[in-house]
């Protein structure tokens, strides 16, 4: 296991360049986990926004630490998706066993869940609005809906304890374990870690990550669209027209399509086309919600 395993030659004999992005994603995951660990002492789920306000205003370089965590997490999502696109483009999915491939596919929804829970933990107006939406989506899952809702969101409405536990614990651990299995190494290589850290630091320094207004800030005013996290805008747009279950059916469809890519020999082209259609629809819904918010 190690670099040799990661850079093992594909069937064609050429070295796989998709491994670089994968390793970089692991680097971003490590930076995100480490910066998140540094944030834990300063964050209280019971006083989420207040914690972040104190972090921003009262702690030297607190705003930078939070931005580092956020941008490294965004970096993880972006590089993970780019890595997936490369894998599909280069047809290297069969380098993994079927089980490992399916688990690796799960990294995508797990990453999104981790990011979404981080968004909710901001405790601001947008986060407060996102919480009941997420709760409602979980409720509509057949059979396990209410249990899933309680498992993910806790038993007390509005309480962020369970979410923060999943964000810092369950999801981080799952991401790390599956990534380690996928990459066949326990920690990222030094070069990827440094590169991810530098990119995250660069963004954290140059692009401010402001806090949102407090919950209820818009309750008295005219109705307006509060935008959710940028990576879920397509889902938010879809929910404007589609029924609530589409919010879990669409990601499920994506996961199934990605999973079947490895098993589809003759139908691979069809599956890839369906995947492209899914992405196009998601992009369209993203544009739709942005236009709606603008108006």
């Amino acid at each position: 296991m190690g670099d040799a395993a990661l850079t093992e030659a594909p069937a064609g004999g050429a070295r796989s360049s998709s491994g670089d992005l994968g390793r970089l994603a692991f680097g971003f995951l490590a930076v995100s986990a480490l910066s998140g660990l540094a944030l834990v002492p300063f964050f209280s789920p019971a006083h989420a926004l207040e914690s972040l306000e104190r972090l921003h205003g009262g702690m030297p370089w607190g705003f930078f630490l939070r931005a580092l965590h956020a941008y490294s997490s965004f970096g993880l999502l972006v590089t993970a998706v780019a890595h997936l696109v490369q894998v599909l483009a280069r047809r290297t999915e069969r380098q993994l066993s079927a089980g490992s491939w399916w688990r690796s596919v799960l990294l995508l929804p797990l990453t999104l869940l981790a990011l979404l829970s981080g968004f909710v933990l901001r405790g601001d107006a947008a986060a407060a609005e996102a919480l009941p939406v997420g709760s409602r989506i979980a409720e509509t899952v057949p059979l396990i809906g209410p249990e899933l809702q309680r498992l993910l969101l806790g038993v007390i409405p509005g309480d962020l304890g369970a979410i923060s536990l999943h964000h810092a614990g369950t999801l981080t651990l799952l991401l790390w374990l599956i990534t380690a299995e996928h990459g066949r190494r326990l920690v990222p290589d030094a070069r990827s870690l440094v590169l991810a850290g530098l990119v995250s630091a660069s963004l954290a320094g140059t692009v401010p990550l402001p806090l949102g207004p407090p919950p209820g800030a818009f309750s008295g005013g005219a109705a307006r669209v509060l935008l959710g996290p940028w990576y879920l805008l397509g889902l938010q747009g879809a929910l404007v027209d589609l029924p609530v279950p589409s919010a879990w059916l669409a990601p499920l469809l994506l996961v199934l399509l990605l999973g079947f890519v490895r098993h589809a020999d003759r139908a691979r082209r069809l599956v890839v086309v369906l995947l492209a259609g899914w992405v196009a629809a998601y992009a369209a819904f993203t544009v739709r919600i942005l236009l709606l918010a603008r108006n």
Partner: protein
Amino acid sequence: MFRTFALVSAALAALLGFLVASGREADRTRGTGRGPDHAGGRTERCVSCHVKPDEDPGGAHSRAALGCASCHLGNPLAFGKARAHEGLEREPGALSTVAVTCGREGCHARESARVATSPMTRASGIVSVDRFAFGEIPSPDSTETVADILAAARPTPAELHLRKLCAGCHLGARRANRDDAIHGNGSGCAACHVARLEKGDPPRAHPPIDARVPNDRCFACHSRSGRISLTYEGLAEVEPHQIAGGPLPCPAPLKLADGRPACRMAPDVHQVAGMSCIDCHLHTELMGDGTARTHEEEQVEITCEACHGPVREGGEVAWSEVKDEISLEIQKRERRREEEDFLRKGSEGRAPDGAARLGRAEPPDWTLSKKSSSHAAPPDARVRLGRRGTPLLNLLRRSSSSLSSSSSSSDWILVRKLDGVVLQVKQTPRDANHARKGHERLSCSACHTAWAPRCDTCHTSFDAARTQWDFAAGKPTAGAWTERSEGFSWGPPLLGVRADGRIVPAAPGMILDIERTAAGGGKTSRRLLAPMEPHATGKKARTCESCHRSPAAPEFEAGTRTGFRGLDAAERRRVAAARVEPR
């Protein structure tokens, strides 16, 4: 090659990021003061908006020492006014939040607990006398507080009377819900310890906070009811119709801040000497001492004799025998401050008021050398005590060389707390005037009170059809109590007899008719005599004739405190029959 390029590019970008972030961190630091160096070790964003120098109270409570949120609460790290002001306490010290402002642990927790027992907080005396006057309770000594009557679900006529007229004047009252005479004062602790807001003050200027309370803050409340602050300043309240060509000798009438007219009278001799209320009244009386008492005269510790003698047995002890922890702490703190002043400035640079700090057991020693420890109170230095053993910190023996158990007239000085000016404290001479047979029971003020205000008539009626401010609801509610007086007067005080037999000044405090038919009661007429220290002390005693040749005093009911009474018929006959010697 590509990987190296990527790494170098990322490193350069990160460097740029750090540079930009450094600028933002510098902005943050500027917006919150100098970080941990400010706001008592915390950082706050309040000063990014509240930048004016006059928004700083200065002193021990300065922004640099405590920040803003320690007292004003709110959210000091929020971005934006609305968020920052969530939970803001605009009146720090208000008793409803005092546990998390002035009274928080580590600040003044002990003091705020004591204040809860102060008569100025509880106002039990006002409540119980009022209910007694209305005939609702058998004695005027109940322990019911103003908070109780404000919370009463079904107020009695007396409680309604208090809620409409009297309950706006206690330490628990907030600015928006209090008697109009005291609008300028703060709330709770701030009512005494924060300078009053006056018309024309900048709207956001922070008044200074101090322990040395000047008289204007006491005046705000105590110019009502017994009106001792008015009397002390030489002012007698009158009705408007009394100065408009009325029979009163009122040559230079003036208007008080709340519009009440007043006539100029002789001020108290202590006022003429520049003394403030806190020069006499002890911290245990004002702040409370942990024991709740109903009546003001039970709370007061200071006596004329404590300063002027003859001192009661046990009223003068060595400092080593003082048990009052707070006084010992104050003395220690003030002495340390004086040492610091001395080390900083040297004896040449010492201001007189700095040298005459509170709690010195000796008069100021102007030749104090840097190495000298002579300013430490010798354990055998004498100190005089109030009735419950609280030392008079600003009453000092003139010099350690004259220490003895007996006091001569020049032994004692008083250091004015506000400005440090030293005054001689004359001791009561043991002459014929003060040892006259038959006058042993007279209090000092029975003779030395030059005049006392009188509210001889007071008609109180209830009008159910009108509305009036209700201090319980904090808004006007149905029903109005109206007080109507034919006018005020003044003269030598009447005399009454305390439960211990001592003869003291008294005022016909409640000669009133109460019509409460509309409030659910009947009509009552009361003639009550109240013990009173008018605070109009004169150097000259009242004349013998003012007691022995005055018309017989009218009869009064048992008084406004159990055990207190007017002179009975036999006593009045004896006074009237006594031979008056020429003075």
